[in-house]
Symmetry: C2
Subunit: 93 residues, 2 copies
């Protein structure tokens, strides 16, 4: 699976909300009511990641969680990242 070009990534991002290109990755910051809501979200993200054997970078401070997605083997962003991004948006709702 080849890495997408910047133009391909930007085109893909049109179908998502709140995601942006971050170097060779895509990223989004989520905000929750409090820390325990953020941890609950991380657990659900964990199940989505394991199901796909595709794992995000996760950064959490209190009620904020930043998710960064890229495909290590491809050296950039692939469809796998967009698929996981959509799944994460679903569990965040």
């Amino acid at each position: 699976m080849p890495a997408m070009s910047a133009d391909q990534i930007d085109a893909g991002l049109q179908s998502l909300t709140g995601w942006s290109r971050a170097g060779n990755a895509i990223a989004k910051e989520y905000r929750f009511a409090n820390f325990r809501a953020a941890v609950a979200f991380l657990v659900r993200v964990g199940f989505e990641a394991e199901q796909r054997d595709h794992h995000p970078e996760i950064f959490n401070v209190y009620n904020r969680v930043t998710i960064t997605l890229s495909t290590h083997d491809a050296g950039g962003v692939t469809d796998k990242d967009f698929d996981l991004a959509r799944a994460i948006d679903t569990v965040a709702d």
Copy 2:
């Protein structure tokens, strides 16, 4: 609760394993067998944090988790951070 001096922090770190001073904070990287072990650890860290109403910065990539602790209200490291560090070491074992 006043922030500790760098010397006080270094003295406190003598009683911990794997923690180091990171600017105005203390930090440690944990490695686990796999991603799901890392997520299970994050959940346990979450309970320790909520119990103390004191929250870490968490960074996770696959089986690696970096925990960074500081006391925002004090603008640096306090006993609260050492207390949480010890609790996190206990759940990591």
